[in-house]
């Protein structure tokens, strides 16, 4: 019941937003037009990135065996798991948002909490497309120092938070 209401509220906000943009364009309201342009850019970016990611998630759920994920990313898998998720994160496009459903699916297939936390951290610090931009504009020395500094921090923080949450028997929401 509550959930149904929330969805209607979101739809309502969306309709109001579209109206606002449409009116802004018809009366040449600068700020509104600007918001509209930004929205279009981001929406396009998401429309380009999300479909292939969700297709891959679907294929992953159907084809990859739970035992495989448990073996490499599960409770007993050890430190190698973190190397795997850094490799997985490296080619990621689109930042944090598209990486959430990927991390969620990994968890559902048996990856431990600290591994998906390190994965999210790796998306933040170790994506190759971003490193390319970074070193172009800030120099490769900057990138090198930042990467060397952030990789251990992300791993340590992920392990610590993962351990803490596991101790509290933390469970992720079902069925997303």
């Amino acid at each position: 019941m509550k959930k149904q209401k929330l969805i209607t509220l979101k739809n309502f906000i969306f309709i109001v937003f579209i109206f606002f943009i449409a009116i802004s364009f018809s009366i040449d309201y600068d700020l509104g037009e600007n918001i509209g342009h930004h929205f279009k850019d981001y929406l396009l970016q998401m429309l380009i990135i999300l479909p292939p990611i969700f297709i891959l998630i679907g294929l992953f759920e159907v084809w990859v065996k739970k035992e495989t994920i448990i073996k490499h990313l599960g409770e007993e898998a050890g430190f190698k798991s973190y190397v795997w998720v850094f490799i997985l994160a490296a080619p990621m496009a689109g930042g944090l948002l598209p990486s959430f459903p990927i991390a969620y699916s990994l968890y559902r297939k048996g990856a431990r909490l600290s591994v998906i936390l390190v994965f999210l951290g790796a998306v933040g610090v170790g994506r190759i497309p971003m490193i390319f931009f970074e070193s172009t504009f800030l120099g490769w020395k900057f990138s090198f120092i930042r990467i060397v500094a952030s990789i251990p921090m992300v791993i340590i923080a992920g392990i610590a938070l993962g351990k803490y949450l596991e101790k509290k028997q933390y469970k992720l929401p079902e069925n997303q």
Binding site: L43, I49, G58, Y164, L172
Partner: protein, 160 residues
């Protein structure tokens, strides 16, 4: 960007040759999942586009350019945490800051928090991982951004 399409295309093809039924099921799962999160993503996009329009890049440059101290690092982390700026825009922006003489620790705080912390993406993160996970992960990531900036404050060599 093309990379992910190539990977997806090849994976789909191999999957389809191996089992059309399973592939159909995979596509159904993907569609269902995307449908579930779409309203949340859409809401986030609306908020991002409003914030980015109210706070233009010039304003960010102005703010970050003013403070080179610890306060500057903190402000830079706050700005990075509460905005979403895509890499093709944020790194040239950071390059401009560097040329203006803004310290590398301020710049590192800004770019790191931008990539690691997501206040605006919190609604989606909460939906997937729950409240506590999302809050603690973002808090820790904020601290990591500050620590990365701290590392840069020790580096005296010329980075450019």
């Amino acid at each position: 960007m093309y990379f992910i399409y190539i990977i997806t295309g090849i994976s789909l093809l191999i999957s389809f040759i191996s089992s059309p039924q399973k592939t159909k099921k995979a596509l159904k799962i993907g569609a269902k999942k995307i449908g579930k999160i779409a309203p949340t993503f859409l809401a986030i996009l609306i908020v991002i586009s409003i914030i980015l329009s109210i706070v233009p890049n010039e304003l960010i440059i102005q703010y970050l350019g003013k403070n080179n101290s610890y306060l500057g690092v903190f402000i830079a982390s706050l700005i990075g945490s509460t905005t979403i700026i895509p890499g093709p825009i944020s790194y040239p922006l950071a390059g401009i800051l560097a040329k203006q003489g803004v310290s590398y620790s301020v710049i590192a705080a800004f770019t790191s928090s931008l990539m690691l912390v997501g206040v605006l993406t919190y609604p989606a993160e909460k939906k997937y991982f729950g409240k506590q996970f999302a809050i603690l992960r973002n808090l820790l990531s904020f601290i990591i951004a500050l620590l990365i900036a701290f590392v840069f404050s020790f580096i005296k060599i010329d980075l450019s």
